[in-house]
Subunit: 441 residues, 2 copies
């Protein structure tokens, strides 16, 4: 009997794509984003449901949006990832913990060391969401008035990754012998000095921490540009991606997986997990009603700013309760703009309704009963749209409770999601090999 392909599930709980009206939903925790007890509760639920990982997105600036929208957003503040995930490591046992860290605004030594430390503290559950940071506001918090250009950020990221993995390999896995009788603490033949000198970094090493439990913590990326996909094919263990439809997901999946062989990697060496926003109800009607209700909590001031950005045209002067008029051409992304216009026309939405839709969340979503959602997830898995998903919950805590209480059991019943963890590390959960030490094979 062949085992079904298995879904991998991550949970995504920080700003981007988390619905901006979520904090106002009846019964929701308005400070869920910034209350340790609340986050601990949610992550412990996810662990009971055998999720692969909890994923902490991050930004190195207050989000770049007009103050009238920002002041209505629960995303202005959050915990810093290393501190939050380390605290969560102490109150969980199995779930993976993925922290975002930027290759543009950090030093390789610090990043290598913090992830190694988190990996030891969590007994092999650390993941690094490697980002190059596209927000130009971030540069101004680090003494730079202009942001590094896109391709240069990726060249720097590749070298950064090489330095970090080289530092992780500073010590052989069996370097620390701790022989009390002879007084030998480590075997000096099992210590490697990296002495890296490259275009962007000079880093001597060795790292002052033992090799991580996983060899290397799991490396996650989200870049979907050409440069981003090449870096991912070369270095990522998992990719979190935004794909609006199954067809788009399949194209991305086929494209990225086909790039692996060139780097001597197999298709199983990289897992692709699109983000999906899930609203589950007892009936389809209930789920749809909840989803629609959620949009009503997006404040008009906030929604209209997002809508104007999406259209590339200020629409705040029109009647909120009238239809969307013809909008002139603009610099906005043409496909994103057309999608918004299509919604307005096809669903006969008022400007207010459209603003609340766009200002809330408008990426991939699955709304329906547990069976409906399981059907869609199974289809994505079977038809090679993904290896799993990075789940976004509509509000906390009920969004998590509904998903783990209703959808997860249905996925387990179908044999496409684990009932128990079969390993202890995040690499185990994701079905990834432990990297050999490049200096001590």
């Amino acid at each position: 009997m062949t085992r079904n392909r298995q879904l991998h599930l991550g949970a995504f709980m920080r700003p981007v794509s988390l619905h901006t009206g979520a904090w106002r939903f009846p019964g929701a925790w308005p400070d869920a984003n910034f209350n340790f007890a609340h986050l601990k509760h949610c992550v412990q639920l996810l662990e009971k449901a055998r999720f692969d990982a909890f994923f902490m997105a991050d930004h190195l600036a207050v989000l770049n949006m007009p103050i009238d929208a920002l002041k209505r957003s629960h995303t202005a503040t959050s915990f810093e990832p290393f501190t939050l995930l380390s605290a969560l490591a102490a109150v969980t046992e199995r779930i993976g913990l993925v922290a975002t860290a930027s290759t543009t605004f950090e030093e390789p030594w610090h990043i290598a060391r913090r992830f190694a430390s988190l990996d030891h503290l969590s007994n092999g559950r650390a993941g690094w969401n490697l980002v190059t940071t596209s927000n130009p506001e971030a540069a101004r918090n680090f003494g730079r008035d202009t942001h590094m250009e896109h391709d240069e950020r990726y060249r720097r990221a590749l070298e950064f990754h090489a330095v970090v993995t080289g530092l992780w390999d500073s010590w052989a896995d069996d370097a620390f012998v701790r022989e009390v009788d002879t007084g030998l603490y480590f075997d000096p033949a099992k210590l490697h000095v990296l002495d890296h000198r490259g275009d962007y970094f000079s880093v001597r090493g060795p790292l002052n921490i033992a090799r991580p439990v996983q060899g290397w913590p799991v490396v996650v990326q989200a870049g979907s540009s050409e440069a981003g996909m090449q870096v991912a094919a070369q270095t990522a263990d998992a990719v979190f991606t935004a794909q609006p439809t199954l067809a788009a997901g399949q194209r991305f999946y086929a494209n990225l997986k086909s790039r692996l062989e060139h780097f001597g990697r197999t298709r199983d060496d990289l897992k692709i997990l699109p983000g999906v926003f899930v609203v589950v109800g007892e009936t389809r009607e209930e789920a749809a009603a909840q989803r629609a209700r959620l949009d009503t909590f997006v404040h008009y001031d906030s929604g209209i700013a997002s809508l104007s950005i999406a259209l590339g045209h200020d629409v705040s002067g029109y009647d909120p309760d009238g239809p969307l008029p013809e909008i002139p051409e603009s610099n906005a992304s043409r496909s994103a703009r057309q999608r918004v216009v299509d919604w307005a026309r096809e669903e006969k939405l008022t400007i207010r309704e459209l603003a609340q839709r766009v200002g809330g969340y408008s990426g991939l979503e699955m709304v329906g009963t547990a069976r409906d959602i399981a059907d869609q997830m199974e289809q994505w898995l079977v038809e090679e749209g993904s290896d799993g998903f990075n789940i976004m919950f509509p509000w906390l805590p009920a969004g998590v409770e509904d998903f783990v209480g209703k959808v997860v059991p249905e996925l387990q019943r179908r044999g496409i999601f684990r009932r128990e963890y079969t390993g202890t590390t995040l690499r185990d959960h994701l079905g990834l090999r432990r990297p050999l030490n490049r200096f001590f094979v």
Copy 2:
């Protein structure tokens, strides 16, 4: 009835001054430095004993010592401070958590954010041990072949501190209103954009995290040079210092406290806590025997390297079991050198014994019964040698268990150490005021 002055107690558990033979002592945990369960056990014991803080020293390189000494040291690796202390925050409730971070090799934005995050996660228990990093090996891990010179490091540290505290004040304490009905998450009038432009840093702000629970996390420093003391007088809430004798401690205490008024601060605004190595026994003889036994676990190869450094002269060629011969003048610190020579002469130590003493630990120590140790601590407190101590334990876990089981009750009986915490934050424990927000008074 006036209340006695109260001792403040911190625990110091990382490399420098932790006895290098500790990991070999019978019953000791050889990996105590790098085993989360062990550290958690010790810190929970310290919290039960009502310690003010647990202090995590740190280095940004493998310690700079000859490989023959390094390979015998348990200090080559350790957890990274932010990750370790955040994990400890999740399994403790009251004890302060002080992490070391360098103003020379970090960015103010990251440091402001991580300490703010740790302070929120721990409900007001974070402290920043602000160091300028004197180890030249560290520079080579951050792309610099030469280390920044001493006074420039301190000028940079002062500006770094100003930026970090400015970022901590980005939001008024009551900025986040989270009004579900109106949809207002924060009051934009209570957000301040720092826009710092100085000699070393340009940082726009605001910080994307609410003002810390303590207003500002506690700032700790250890610099004892002229520049270091001026920076401490201006910015530190507590100073950890190495003072070999009560007389030296009194001079340092009077000197540093006298500098505070110039900066508009009172003598109570800065607490001085010398490091002290404590060995407690049922009798003086037992304690002295344990202390002597500990030195026997310093490997000769390691000790002789330390002794040669202390003397500024290679003494590895002499008979280990013979006396110390006359040593020519050298570049070594004259007072440190003389102290070592005096030990050899006065106690008639062999080169081996001397090497083991110097290679183990040779700063301030208190060795005796609980009463003896309490007597000395009380004397330092009453005679203004210190406001308390930063305790170093001879080996783990017994060193902690002995101190909290024997010495702490004796200090409590004398009314010079708390029986219960009277506040919840590290500032409360240390008797420090909560800083006002400079932008929103």
